[in-house]
Symmetry: C2
Subunit: 256 residues, 2 copies
Amino acid sequence: VVLRESPIAIEREGAPGAVVFVCEHASCRLPEELGTLGLDDRALRSHIAWDIGALDLARGLADAVDGTVCYQRFSRLAYDCNRPPEASSAIVGRSETYDIPGNQGLDPAQRSARVKGIYLPFRDGLAALLERRQAAARATVLVTVHSFTPVYFGTPRQVEIGILHDSDTRLADAMLAEAQQMGSSFVVRRNEPYAPTDGVTHTLVEHGIKRGIPNVMIEVRNDLLVKGAMLDPVVEYISNMLNGAMSNTGSSSVRR
Amino acid sequence: VVLRESPIAIEREGAPGAVVFVCEHASCRLPEELGTLGLDDRALRSHIAWDIGALDLARGLADAVDGTVCYQRFSRLAYDCNRPPEASSAIVGRSETYDIPGNQGLDPAQRSARVKGIYLPFRDGLAALLERRQAAARATVLVTVHSFTPVYFGTPRQVEIGILHDSDTRLADAMLAEAQQMGSSFVVRRNEPYAPTDGVTHTLVEHGIKRGIPNVMIEVRNDLLVKGAMLDPVVEYISNMLNGAMSNTGSSSVRR
């Protein structure tokens, strides 16, 4: 199955900065071909469908450090591009307190259609972007950008900004050191609210670690990503962490 | 003290609908004359400074029922226009977990300057708007629009939409009956998360009850007011409640 619309979008590819920001959960839109998956409007716009505010954050950060943005155009309910095809969590039948009827009891052909229509073109498009940079001998840093819900299963989360990593800890270490040095306006934690054991580092491994590109995953509590409210201070704080970390680890960055 | 900028803004005054939506906490901007009140950027953009998303909600509702919007241009930290001058909560020295240095130890002249610069022109401007409608024999319904934080003093709030009233319960009763009839996509409660005893019905009393205008206060949890996410379904749900309630109580409304 080939979707009418490509699942991958790239913005600011010509920007001079080193950072490629990747947003796998940027949108709550479903491909027309999938209908509503049996969900009401409320569920389709909730945090189970996308990372609310993550694309705004990625764009703000890209603007602040003159980087590039690559995002997936469809809801993670269609296919979670931060999961490999063999993971059961790539297409979920249930998320937090919601059932997702249209994702239950899929046969192998239906699963394969989602993989071919969404995962593979996104993976290949991102790989091609990174390869174009490599061919041009451009310094590259991979930063995946996510958001999480302030209250999960009824429990409030204290962490505000999570800095997550897999086996390559260089950039995460440097960012956390930078945060400590800056003094913290925000509650910043390592590998919270998720950790590699939750399977959230697929993009980091597939596109960063396998290529030897410095990489990190950023998770921000979505109540801090409201435009006109806390988004700007969050963008400023994280871009300072990132710029500081990159100059300390020798990755080049272009400040405005 | 006269501020350079008027604290009151009116939008869509010519709209044919009966509802005047009032937003006393629409903005986090401080009048230049007050500086930062000793707060950092983070505090100045948090829910203590304004009702995040409330103006977007008011504008969405006004659009849905062809009503008018009246809002206060400055942060409630400068002066909370839903409080009378004699209330200590009109200018707060502390809010939730934040101290507000610039509001502490004010002398009577300083308090009076805030009252004259913000409260009185807002109160008089709103009164004048309602009097113009009365003079033109236009049906009028007063709806104040607020938002609240999902987690308060570390505790998550279950209520999503609060329908609040003072001694005039007509519109609130009719809206709650309508919500029950529609079936609830949202958790709707009477006089939650605040009640008249919290002093939140000043505008209702001053501008609605004293004039005999049907009135109600709407409080929505601010995580439901994100544009592109849940804002549209919330606007649709509340405007349905309001239209249904007004046709049952005999107040006229113009549907689109």
